[in-house]
């Protein structure tokens, strides 16, 4: 308790700021309606389905929609663990609108706290961590996921993504070897929140590894990676093994494949947009940038990164850690763009199809790129004597004001019964199909218990940053 109190005392300004940021970004929820979004129906339906199956099946899994097309939310096999909370609220008798809104408020707060901890770990400085957290919570791409797409899986994934990013940076950039647990927790939570973001983050992990190969091809690093991989597979076996078994069926993968996938990749200029106009078009081929979805981390982040690049160009003041993060972010940005001939991978073989299906659209790679850019901005802030946290927060405030205003004023909305009607999508709870499933669940249970035992008896003293 004393430790918590001490931590609060040291971080109280940051605490108020990030709570204010989370509350402010929840502004669109202070209405008597819910903005429509492409995936809203699926999100609501999942809440209903999880609520219905909550005390009947364990672990709870939702099956694919009977009527499959392609694209969002129609997961072949999504873990949906994070739906337990809204499902429980729904089961307790709250209306769908209230459940949805409470979930979003909680997700915003959770995101703020997790992000602060992660950015503190990355930047090792409170002011920079606070600014990064505020801009992360206000990230236009994230706000689009919440209020533009209405995809709760993405919202949950945004909450836990900083942990995975922190783990990767800690291992490969900060070269700290006590990262296996952090990585396991981060990537596990991400996988259970939204596999699509997990695959993006996994790509980021691989890129970091390749980029720092010369430095990190050591026994210690490889040992961390192996530990992480084993722990990750063990913890998630209950989900991964059944999913892979399902993957053998081409018919199950095919509906996830986006037709003409390159049309859903983004223009690089979308990253430097100043104003988020609240559009929701994911296919930018048809009408260009007209009403395109937001994929950028916010102009303030881009400005800070540009400031860093300019200082490298002018004064040759470079920092390896920032450079590495920016290189990986840059690669992810390019991969998310329509400059890459993604269409050459389409309709070629089962492996490519699975990769593309897991990715959904190249645009999803923008999410880890954004988090890395925000991390880089945090590092620039912590290293620069000229930039201040409040400056970037002020800039972020203006842009988020604009985006939220646009979202509230141009998008359609639904209320109470309309939401009930919208959620009549036939998700169903499925039970274990074979002995393999049960064995996988057993493996996961053993690993988690082992993990908890390790945590209780041999846990790390925590990462202390006193700057």
């Amino acid at each position: 308790m004393e430790r918590i109190r001490e931590s609060y005392r040291k971080n109280r300004i940051q605490f108020y700021m990030i709570v204010a940021a989370a509350v402010f970004v929840s502004l669109p929820l202070c209405t008597d309606f819910v903005n429509t979004g492409r995936d809203l129906a699926a999100s609501l339906a999942k809440i209903r389905a999880v609520g219905a199956g909550l005390f009947h099946v364990f672990p709870l899994r939702l099956g694919p929609l009977p009527k499959t097309t392609y694209g969002y939310s129609l997961s072949v096999f999504s873990a949906d663990v994070f739906y337990l909370f809204p499902g429980l609220l729904y089961r307790l008798g709250l209306g769908l609108q209230s459940v949805y809104k409470i979930t979003l408020v909680c997700a915003n707060l959770l995101t703020a706290f997790i992000a602060y901890r992660a950015f503190w770990g990355i930047t090792e400085e409170r002011d920079a961590a606070m600014a990064s957290t505020v801009l992360y919570v206000w990230c236009p791409c994230r706000i689009y996921s919440i209020y533009g797409a209405g995809n709760l899986n993405e919202v949950f994934a945004w909450s836990v993504l900083p942990v995975a990013v922190w783990g990767s940076i800690r291992l490969f950039v900060q070269k700290k070897r006590d990262t296996a647990v952090l990585l396991t927790v981060g990537y596990t939570l991400l996988l259970l929140a939204w596999p699509v973001y997990f695959f993006g983050a996994a790509g980021m992990f691989v890129l970091f590894f390749l980029l720092t190969l010369r430095d990190n091809l050591t026994k210690q690093t490889l040992a961390v990676i192996v530990k992480f991989a084993l722990a990750f597979i063990g913890v998630n076996a209950w989900y991964l093994i059944p999913m892979m078994l399902r993957m053998r069926d081409a018919g199950a993968v095919a509906p996830l494949l986006t037709e003409h996938i390159r049309e859903y990749a983004v223009y690089l200029t979308q990253y430097v947009k100043i104003f988020a106009f609240g559009g929701d078009r994911v296919n930018v081929w048809e009408r260009g940038l007209t009403a395109a979805e937001a994929v950028d981390p916010g102009i303030v982040v881009i400005a800070a990164v540009t400031f860093y690049l300019c200082s490298v160009f002018v004064d040759r003041q470079r920092e390896k850690a920032i450079d590495r993060i920016l290189i990986v972010a840059g690669i992810l940005m390019v991969l998310s763009s329509n400059l890459v001939p993604w269409d050459m991978l389409q309709n070629k073989n089962m492996l490519f199809s699975i990769v593309l299906a897991m990715l959904q659209t190249p645009a999803k790679l923008a999410v880890p790129a954004d988090v890395l850019l925000i991390s880089a901005m945090g590092l620039v802030l912590s290293r620069s004597g000229r930039l201040r946290g409040w400056m970037v927060c002020l800039g972020g405030f203006l842009t988020v004001q604009f985006q939220i205003g646009r979202l509230l004023t141009i998008r359609g909305f639904l209320r109470g019964e309309q939401l009930d009607e919208l959620s009549q999508v036939g998700y169903h709870v499925i039970e274990a199909e074979s002995l393999f499933w049960r064995a996988a669940e057993g493996l996961s249970a053993v690993t988690v218990i082992g993990f908890l035992v390790y945590w209780c008896f041999f846990r790390h003293r925590g990462y202390e940053y006193e700057k």
Binding site: T269, I274, A291
Partner: protein, 740 residues
């Protein structure tokens, strides 16, 4: 000097090898594919229209020309295009074409970037009458190879330049100031060309008109015609004399890109990027030399490149004439400043004026007006011998450099009767702005330019924007309180002139300015005022003046404010720039439609905007391809439509002259000959201004109709060329002298 190292020669070797490979590919045989598919439609078989597909065919990546053999009873209603079910839309670039009653065969171009095995020709029938496609032929072209060669050369150039940049930086090192300016210019270039980084064109008012101008240059160059005088394929092949009235010098770059093989959209984007970059660099060059301060010049340059007026004209209106005016105005301003304030060289003014005349006469008209005002106000300086000589040299030099354009222009204006000469009754005052326009900060991508009808509802972004108004108020404050720290006496006077001119230009853009009264004062005034069309065009003068003034204000601020005050000033300026200029830029991108034109046939050839350059009385709706039409018993055979001309065999069996009309729009210069004897035949225009040849009685033979520019046009071209050579030679010599 920085010496090239081993790496450089390695780069050079790789580049040379790549260029060689592409060059060799030009000589590979062009693959040809014939398809005899018969597609037939009639009002009986398809009463409400129909779609039919050819058999599937496979092609390798490359560029192709598809020639369709057909007959159609209707003009421009039936169409065809190439489709693939498997290919990503980016990989198959073509817009197909429309069919004409008067043609039996026509073609269109296609760029294919992936191998495809399910291509098919899809024809759409919309009637009336019968429509038959007898077959089509696909021939590989060199377009893709040309593009590859161009890209390799450009990338090689960039790599080599980058190599020398890095080598120079390592050896001698650029100063901190150099690098800050370079970084600032890069950011400015990015924002100035922001909407061009998509793979499409933003729709705009005059877009198709200017694209047709580029196509005209391309067609002329491909047929060995230089300089272009009449765009041959415009108006369904009738031709349009836009190049004679509307200078196209700078547009040749876009035309060359089309000749190389780029599709319309790619050529547009490269051309616009080059112009945008040139605007930034020229603005920086001019402003930094006026201000004698590189940072202040950079600020002025950024404000100019991202100004509301520029964004509106370049990306919303796609007014290329004004865009080129915006490109050149800083240079002209610098030219005048150099002569009036520094008594320096006349070269910048000469170059600026010459290019302006050859790009946009209306901007030239406005510059002329402000030049007269300047000369009158500063009459003492104007009539100082050395200055007067420099001004005269600049004016005469600009006229001589532009003689190749001005002589044909004057020839047609003096001897012809065109629509443009009959619009002096068109008033402009009602199109003027409201004072509120000048004070707007949040401009949006509206489409209303007729303020008298709908007020400011969805008004177009006609104004100068918040940041430039802020600059003006800052300067007025400085003027009122006599604060001129940081500015020399000359700069202070220049600043006052700039502010006054800016205010004057803004007032002239308003609906309250008595344009109608001026217009009614005489025929010359009526013609000049009417040609302005929109008073908001005067904002282009206000824009350049205020951007230069911004640099002066920055110089003053840097010299007089504390660090904190300066930071506050910068924050206000940045926020105003973001919410005014950059907001408009992104709103354009957010709301404008994306257009992808690949082959010229895809956009049609009929659009001529206000039809200003048509012979007065011509009806362009009647311009449709047809065989030569005679008003008597005339046998014609072996008719072949050529670029700006035609060949045909004729036999006049009558005892009188028979008029033979060709599908060509008559402009002075068309002539007809007997190809065997060289006998000249009387050539004139019929009632709808088609080129008409009077065939003598009992005449038989092959005749050729073609456009032959008068000899004095060629003389004017020679004068311009000689002037250019002398100009370059003397500039080089004086530069060497100065260096020595």
């Amino acid at each position: 000097m920085v010496k090239a190292g081993r790496k450089f020669y390695l780069f050079l070797g790789i580049e040379g090898l790549l260029v060689l490979l592409v060059l060799v590919s030009f000589f590979l045989p062009h693959r040809t594919y014939e398809y005899g598919t018969e597609i037939y439609f009639s009002e009986t078989t398809a009463p409400s229209g129909g779609i039919m597909e050819s058999e599937h065919f496979a092609l390798n990546p490359g560029s192709y020309r598809i020639t369709v053999d057909y007959s159609s009873d209707a003009d421009m209603t039936n169409t065809c295009d190439i489709y693939s079910g498997k290919l990503d839309a980016r990989c198959l670039a073509t817009n197909g074409m429309q069919f004409f009653q008067g043609l039996q065969e026509d073609h269109f171009d296609m760029w294919l970037y992936r191998k495809a095995d399910d291509l098919r020709l899809v024809t759409e029938y919309h009637g009336p009458g019968e429509f038959t496609v007898r077959g089509f032929r696909i021939v590989e072209t060199n377009a893709c190879r040309g593009m590859a060669l161009f890209m390799i050369l450009v990338i090689s150039l960039l790599v080599d330049a980058g190599y020398f940049y890095v080598a120079y930086d390592r050896k001698k090192g650029f100063s901190r100031e150099d690098k800050i300016v370079q970084a600032g210019l890069l950011i400015t270039i990015f924002y100035a060309a922001y909407p061009l980084f998509g793979d499409y064109i933003l729709s705009g008012g005059d877009l198709v008109y200017h694209l047709q101008r580029v196509e005209g240059i391309k067609d002329c160059l491909l047929h060995g015609i230089f300089p272009a005088r009449i765009s041959p394929e415009w108006q369904q092949g009738y031709g349009y004399a836009s190049p004679i009235f509307y200078g196209e010098t700078i547009l040749y770059l876009a035309g060359v890109l089309r000749v190389i093989g780029f599709d319309v959209t790619a050529a547009f984007r490269i051309f616009m990027f080059v112009i945008s970059t040139a605007t930034v660099l020229l603005a920086y060059y001019s402003f930094s030399r006026i201000l004698k301060d590189r940072y202040a010049g950079l600020v002025s340059c950024f404000l100019y490149a991202t100004s509301v007026y520029r964004i509106y004209k370049v990306y919303y209106c796609e007014s290329w004439g004004e865009m080129l005016g915006i490109l050149l105005l800083p240079l002209i301003l610098y030219g005048f400043y150099r002569i009036f304030a520094q008594n320096g060289s006349y070269v910048p003014l000469t170059v600026g004026l010459a290019l302006l005349v050859q790009s946009h006469l209306l901007t030239g008209e406005m510059v002329g007006l402000f030049t007269i005002i300047t000369c009158v106000v500063f009459w003492k300086k104007t009539f100082e011998i050395s200055r007067f000589l420099k001004l005269a040299k600049a004016a005469v030099g600009a006229v001589l450099l532009s003689a190749w354009f001005l002589v044909p222009f004057a020839d047609y204006m003096l001897t012809g009767n065109f629509v443009i000469q009959n619009v002096s009754a068109r008033t402009i005052q009602y199109r003027g702005l409201l004072p509120a326009h000048l004070f707007l900060t949040f401009f949006r991508n509206g489409n209303n330019v007729f303020i008298d009808e709908t007020g400011m509802y969805r008004t177009s972004a006609m104004g100068i924007g918040g940041v430039l108004m802020f600059v003006l108020f800052c300067f007025l404050y400085m003027w009122f309180f006599g604060r001129k720290e940081g500015l020399s006496e000359t700069e202070w006077t220049a600043s006052k002139v700039m502010a006054v001119y800016a205010v004057l230009a803004m007032v002239m853009s308003l609906a309250m300015f008595p344009w109608d009264r001026i217009q009614s004062s005489g025929q010359i005034a009526a013609t000049l005022v009417s040609s302005i069309q929109f008073p908001n065009r005067f904002l282009t003068i206000a824009n350049v003046m205020l951007c230069a003034l911004a640099g002066m204000v920055v110089k003053h601020a840097a010299a007089s404010l504390t660090k904190k005050q300066l930071a506050g000033f910068a924050v206000i300026a940045v926020i105003l720039t973001a919410v005014s200029n950059l907001y408009l830029l992104e709103d354009e991108m957010e709301r404008d439609d994306a257009i992808r034109v690949h082959n010229d046939e895809g956009m049609g050839t009929g659009y001529i905007s206000g039809a200003e350059y048509l012979p007065y009385g011509a009806d362009p709706a009647l311009f449709m391809p047809h065989d030569p039409k005679a008003d008597g018993d005339l046998f014609t055979d072996q008719y072949e439509k050529k670029t700006l001309g035609a060949w045909v065999y004729v036999e006049n069996r009558e005892q009188r002259e028979v008029a033979l009309a060709f599908p060509l729009l008559y402009y002075k210069g068309y002539q007809a000959y007997d190809r065997e004897t060289g006998q000249k035949l009387p050539t004139l225009s019929d009632e709808n201004f088609e080129v008409t040849v009077n065939i003598p009685p009992q005449f038989s033979g092959n005749i050729e109709v073609k456009f032959v520019p008068p000899v004095y046009w060629h003389a004017a071209e020679l004068v311009s060329l000689l002037t250019l050579i002398v100009f370059l030679w003397s500039s080089l010599r004086s530069r060497r002298k100065a260096q020595a």
